[in-house]
Symmetry: none
Subunit: 223 residues, 3 copies
């Protein structure tokens, strides 16, 4: 049994090393016009989620805030993820946010996940597979469907009202969204193995339709 | 088939752990006269490349710039890699460079790779297997053959015009150059396993002819 | 044969994770009287060596120098390892030392190794498995037998002349000495796996006779 476990382990490593290729978005300069809309696989009607992405940016802490992920319905920022001015990761589910002090993002790729569960309000951030402390946030809330997912800009209306000073500059890829909280070990495996292992049921980055507006390079990234 | 692949993989790991030995170049002091020329396995006529090396230096950021790799034809710096004064990694393909903010190089060995692809212009740096953001640089350019590869000095002419203030001081080894962009996982494996796994098709460090001028120690390094 | 070696290798990795226990020396306060002598398995007549140990200290860089390992014959500091005042790691083989800029030691355990080879003079430091640049030092020298190994104090004579301001304060363990240069991969494995994999042929910490003088706690440390 021990032997077969070893072989299974090796086989897994081998398969993963095989070379998955994912699309990666390059935002080369600050703008209020460059962005990408993402078409999810199903509506964002969520009582729990795991959002993961890989990103690198040369914008420094204290330089300015950066929008990492925006999902907005007509009147609400339903699920927005920020790198705050002071370097904290901020999550906003319709209203005031919850914040996590984290090691700084930088020009080397970081694997970032955030998990949230309506039932308990438990919210955690994972950086390169390492889990933050858990905070209680928006217990019994629900993320509502009918909105638009935007990468690169923070919409202050349904699809517009962009501010260059909040735009994303750098590279972002492998954005997956699940309608449940993934186990810590699964998130760690994603971070370590350099590929998604699983893709999201809500946003599946391997097939999601992307629509580019403005100057955004879409390159393939071998994982 | 999968099983045999697994065993091959394990065997490979084992073999590699067994002690590959590579030549390592020690530049003990600043000079305008110590350098090593490297004879490639084939001409550097490149529409894509991966350049990897291992290095350590006690020269600090903000102390001065350092040449890491120079390939010069008669009139052009065809493929030059620098640690800039401010600590950024700079790549120059005939003309202005592209720059990457990186964690500082230091006296502990760093595995450094840079990949470039003419078709898309996608350029990325890898430090100890971790990938930087991608930048678009010199799309549709071609690196030209007929030049000279020099380690330790920056030639301002075909083979001369050296400046001690730009010379490399420290240890550099395992310099391999491929004519394609290697997958991220292959680069990560090289960094993690402490060996090359593959050697370059353009520069194969295991066999490349090295010619030392001046005071450079060539030692063997067990990987 | 290759297959069985593979399985053996995998099995070994598995076994090693099992929980080796080693003796660990606690030096709780500064003194000129607390020290431990170590009885080696064979005389220190060395034309090459690898010295490894694990240590943690709350003494800060710029606070003072710290002796890490002392092997002294009647008139010479034959093989002394220091954390210098400025934080560098210094090795002294009878005379002036060689110095390596390193990340700071601290209150978290660091695995530290130093390798030296008489034939080439190649000297390198490893911190947590990461190799420094190599320096050329004391080529064709020989470490002489007939001395005394002391942990915790720097003897200015055969066994005495201690200075509290140079004493070791903190925890030190798993001190092994080999009469050859170990491959980088073996040193990395020791650092990563949290155990020695091999024990030294000159000092084998698992069996070496230790004699405590003064206030030094000897505790068991599970690896």
């Amino acid at each position: 049994m021990r032997l077969s476990a070893v072989l299974l382990f090796c086989a897994a490593s081998l398969t993963l090393a095989g070379g998955v290729s994912v699309r990666s978005l390059l935002f080369s300069s600050e703008s209020a016009s460059n962005f990408v809309t993402v078409q999810p696989q199903k509506p964002l009607d969520l009582s729990a989620f795991t959002l993961c992405l890989r990103l690198a940016t040369e914008l420094k802490t204290e330089q300015r805030e950066i929008i990492l992920f925006a999902y907005r319905t007509k009147y609400y920022d339903e699920l927005n993820l920020w790198r705050e001015l002071d370097g904290r990761i901020g999550l906003y589910l319709s209203g005031d946010g919850v914040f996590f002090q984290m090691p700084p993002l930088g020009s080397l790729q970081t694997h970032l996940c955030i998990t949230w569960d309506s039932l308990t309000g438990a919210t955690s951030v994972f950086m390169d597979g390492k889990k933050s402390l858990t905070k209680i946030y928006q217990k019994r809330h629900n993320v509502r469907s009918g909105g638009q997912i935007i990468i690169g800009q923070d919409p202050d209306e349904y699809l517009g009202g962009f501010d260059a000073n909040q735009s994303f500059v750098g590279e972002i890829s492998d954005i997956n969204l699940w309608s449940n909280v993934l186990p810590d070990t699964v998130i760690k495996a994603m971070a370590d193995n350099g590929n998604t292992v699983q893709t999201g049921d809500v946003i599946d980055w391997s097939v999601a339709n992307l629509e580019v507006t403005g100057q955004v390079n879409v390159v393939n990234r071998d994982m």
